[in-house]
C-alpha cells in the first residue's frame, strides 16, 4: 500500500481522506480513528496527503517497479575512454 499512516501520530483529522485527488482512503469517522488506504494501488504519489497531514503521520512507499533507473553521470563517456581510465 503506497501511503502508510503511523497510527501513533495520526490525530484522525481526516484531511488526507478528504483531499486525496484519486480518493485512495476510506474514513468512517464515527467508527475509526485513522483513515484506511483502501485503494492504495490507485495512489498517484502526488504527495498531497503527506504535505497536508498536520501530524506528519504519512509516508509514501513507492512500488518497486517505479525504480528510477540511473547511472553514475561520469560513466557517460565513449566506452574506449573509460577503458583508458579517463
Amino acid at each position: 500500500m503506497p501511503p502508510i499512516i503511523d497510527p501513533e501520530k495520526c490525530k484522525g483529522c481526516g484531511t488526507c481522506a478528504q483531499i486525496c485527488p484519486v480518493q485512495v482512503f476510506r474514513f468512517h469517522r464515527a467508527e475509526e480513528k485513522t483513515p484506511r488506504p483502501v485503494f492504495g494501488e490507485e495512489c498517484w504519489h502526488c504527495n498531497c496527503c503527506v504535505e497536508d497531514c498536520p501530524a506528519g503521520a504519512i509516508r509514501l512507499r513507492v512500488p518497486v517497479p517505479y525504480m528510477m533507473v540511473h547511472v553514475d553521470a561520469d560513466t557517460l563517456k565513449p566506452a574506449r575512454s573509460r577503458h583508458d581510465g579517463n
Binding site: 480518493q23 517505479y66 528510477m68
Partner: protein, 565 residues
C-alpha cells in the same frame, strides 16, 4: 434503489474544480451568477495542478515588448503545445494572460518568487522565452478560497456522470455522490455548463509500469469524463486523433521535464540535441519538446538509452532546480530519490516517452469558450483547438466563466422538475443500479485494462507504430463488443468502484470517437501515423477535423483553422 438524494439549481454549473474550472467559477460569480462546482475529488488538491506547477505561459508586455505576435509565433511554431491551435485562440489567450497572472499574484500565488519576472525552462538559446517561472504549490487552495469568497458552492466528491440536454440546449447534469461508501445521485439543473475535466489518462496501456495503471505523469482521475459525456450529447470534438505522448523519468512517470536543468545525453556522453552541451538554467534542454519521439527512437536505433545529466550544475543552479521541482509538485519524487540515494549532481536519470493520452485534444471551443451545443462551454486540457497547459486552463477558464456569467439569459433555464423528469436521468439511474446490484461481475479494472489493450493495438500512436483503416475498423468493432460486455457484466461494491466503472464506460466512448477521427484522417501527420497513407498531405495542414454524433450517426467535418486577428 439508488436515490436521487439532492437536486440543485444553478445559473452556471462548472464540472471539475481543477485550474480551468475554479477560474471559470470565480469569473462567473464575479459577474453575479449563482455558481456550483461539481468536483470529483476535492478542489483544494485535485487534478493535474494538485501539488503545484512552475511554468505559466504568458505574454507580459513589459518583458516581451509591445508586439504580441512575437509570442504568438513562438507558441505556434516553437513550442510543444502549438500543434493543434486555432491561432485566433492563441492570440485571445496571450492578450489576456497578463491580467490573469496579475490576478493570481494579487490572490497570493507567487508569480515573481524571485522578485522579478523570470522566464526559464522549455526554451531555446537566443530566442524569446514565455514560460513564467512561478510557485504553484498552493495554487489550488488559493483558488478554492477565492471561489468561496465570491459565494461559489463547491460540491466535492461529486463527479458528474452524465450531461443533460433538452430541446437542443443544456439543461444540467447528473452527478454521483461518492462522499459516502453507499453511492447516491444528484441532479443539477443549470442552463450553462462549463466543462473543465482535464486531460484524458488511462486510455492506453501504461508504458512505464504495465502492472501499475495509476503510475501517470498527469492526474489519473482525469478519465475523459467531460469529453465522453459531451460526445454523447452531440458536441463537436476536434483533433481527437492527434494523441499526445509525454516524457520524463523512466519507470517513474512524472511531468515537469522542463524543470530539470541538465543535458540529455547518449551513453557515450554526446548530447541528443543541438541546443545545449552543459546545464543551462535559462533554457533547460528543450530537445524532447522538439523531437517528441526522441526517447523511443534512441531505444530502437542502438544509440540509447538517453539520460538526463545534471552533473555539471553549479550549486546555485542545483538549488534553483530543486526549488523549482518543489513548486512544480514533485516533492513525492524528490523524497523517493532521496530514499533511493539518487542525486542528480552525481547520477544521470534515464528518460522515456510515456503512453499516449489526450491533452489539448477534445471539445471544440470559440473565443468565449463556447462549444457547439448551446449553453455548453469547455476550458483547459480537455479543449481540442487550443492548449497552453496551466496558463491556458487559467486564462480560458476565466474567459468561459466571464462569458457564461454575463450571459445568463442567453439560454433559458428549465425548472428542476423538468430536468429531473428527463428520460436520461432515469436511464443513468438504472445503469448505476444494475452495476451496484450485480453480484460477482467484472470489476472496473478489467474493463479499463480491456479498453487500454484495444486502444494500444488498434489506434496506436507515435513513433514506430501505425494505424490503418483495417486496424481502426477492427478496433471499433472490438470496442463496441467491449461496451456490450461491460454493460451486461460490470459490477461495483461501493461508490468508489461505481465511479471507476462509469469512468471505464466513458473511456470506451472517448476511444471510439478517437478511432472515428483517426479513420477519417487519411494521411500521416505524426503522432498520427497511417500505414495505408504514409504521406503528409499539405492540403490538410490548414484544416482541422471535427467529429460529433447526430441521431446515432457519426458526422465528420473538416474546417479551416481560424487565423483571424
Amino acid at each position: 434503489m439508488m436515490e436521487i438524494k439532492n437536486v440543485y439549481e444553478a445559473d452556471v454549473l462548472v464540472v471539475g474544480g481543477g485550474v480551468a474550472g475554479l477560474m471559470a467559477a470565480i469569473a462567473a460569480a464575479e459577474k453575479g451568477a449563482r455558481v456550483l462546482v461539481a468536483e470529483k475529488a476535492d478542489s483544494r488538491r485535485s487534478g493535474s495542478g494538485a501539488a503545484g506547477n512552475d511554468h505559466f505561459r504568458c505574454y507580459i508586455p513589459e518583458c516581451h515588448g509591445p508586439d504580441v505576435e512575437r509570442i504568438v509565433y513562438e507558441v505556434l511554431h516553437f513550442s510543444q503545445v502549438g500543434q493543434c491551435h486555432d491561432p485566433h485562440l492563441t492570440r485571445v489567450f496571450l492578450r489576456r494572460s497578463e491580467e490573469i497572472v496579475r490576478k493570481w499574484e494579487s490572490w497570493g500565488i507567487p508569480m515573481r518568487p524571485t522578485g522579478q519576472w523570470e522566464f526559464t525552462g522549455h526554451a531555446y538559446p537566443g530566442r524569446v522565452r514565455s514560460g513564467l517561472k512561478y510557485d504553484g504549490k498552493k495554487q489550488k487552495a488559493v483558488m478554492t478560497s477565492e471561489a468561496k469568497k465570491r459565494g461559489v458552492t463547491i460540491l466535492n466528491h461529486m463527479p458528474v456522470i452524465e450531461l443533460l440536454k433538452k430541446d437542443g440546449r443544456m439543461a444540467g447534469a447528473v452527478a454521483l455522490d461518492v462522499s459516502a461508501e453507499e453511492p447516491s445521485l444528484c441532479v443539477i439543473a443549470a442552463p450553462s455548463v462549463i466543462l473543465g475535466t482535464g486531460c484524458t489518462t488511462r486510455l492506453y496501456n501504461n508504458m512505464a509500469t504495465p502492472g501499475w495503471m495509476f503510475n501517470l505523469a498527469y492526474c489519473p482521475s482525469n478519465a475523459g469524463g467531460g469529453i465522453a459525456q459531451a460526445w454523447r450529447i452531440g458536441a463537436k470534438l476536434v483533433n481527437l486523433e492527434m494523441t499526445s505522448r509525454h516524457a520524463g523519468p523512466k519507470y517513474f512517470q512524472r511531468c515537469g521535464k522542463g524543470t530539470w536543468i541538465g543535458v540529455l545525453r547518449y551513453p557515450d556522453g554526446e548530447p541528443l540535441g543541438p541546443f545545449v552541451d552543459k546545464p543551462d538554467r535559462a533554457c533547460g534542454d528543450i530537445t524532447s519538446d522538439v523531437w517528441n519521439s526522441s526517447f523511443t527512437d534512441v531505444m530502437k536505433n542502438g544509440r540509447g538509452p538517453a539520460y538526463m545529466d545534471c552533473s555539471g550544475l553549479t550549486p546555485e543552479d542545483y538549488d534553483y532546480m530543486m526549488w523549482g521541482m518543489d513548486s512544480e509538485g514533485l516533492k513525492g519524487m524528490l523524497n523517493y530519490m532521496d530514499e533511493a540515494g539518487i542525486d542528480p549532481r552525481r547520477h544521470a536519470v534515464e528518460f522515456m516517452q510515456y503512453e499516449p493520452f489526450l491533452i489539448g485534444k477534445g471539445l471544440e471551443i470559440d473565443e468565449h469558450g463556447r462549444c457547439s451545443v448551446p449553453g455548453l462551454y469547455a476550458a483547459g486540457d480537455m479543449v481540442g483547438n487550443f492548449r497552453a497547459d496551466i496558463g491556458g486552463a487559467a486564462v480560458f477558464g476565466w474567459i468561459a466563466g466571464e462569458y457564461a456569467g454575463s450571459h445568463i439569459g442567453e439560454n433559458a433555464a428549465f425548472s428542476d422538475e423538468v430536468v429531473c423528469a428527463l428520460p436520461h436521468v432515469a436511464e443513468v439511474r438504472v445503469l448505476c443500479e444494475k452495476i451496484m446490484n450485480r453480484v460477482g461481475g467484472c470489476p472496473w479494472k478489467e474493463g479499463n485494462l480491456a479498453v487500454q489493450q484495444i486502444m494500444t493495438d488498434y489506434a496506436p500512436s507515435g513513433p514506430h507504430t501505425a494505424r490503418s483503416a483495417n486496424l481502426l475498423n477492427a478496433g471499433l468493432k472490438y470496442l463496441g463488443d467491449l461496451r456490450q460486455t461491460l454493460l451486461s457484466s460490470m459490477s461495483a461494491t461501493c461508490s468508489h468502484t461505481l465511479m471507476r466503472a462509469l469512468e471505464t464506460l466513458d473511456l470506451v466512448d472517448v476511444g471510439e470517437a478517437l478511432m472515428h477521427a483517426a479513420l477519417e484522417r487519411r494521411e500521416t501527420r505524426p503522432p498520427h501515423n497511417r500505414a495505408d497513407f504514409t504521406f503528409t498531405n499539405p492540403m490538410l495542414g490548414e484544416l482541422f477535423l471535427t467529429v460529433r454524433k447526430e441521431e446515432g450517426n457519426i458526422v465528420k467535418e473538416w474546417r479551416k483553422k481560424d487565423n483571424s486577428r
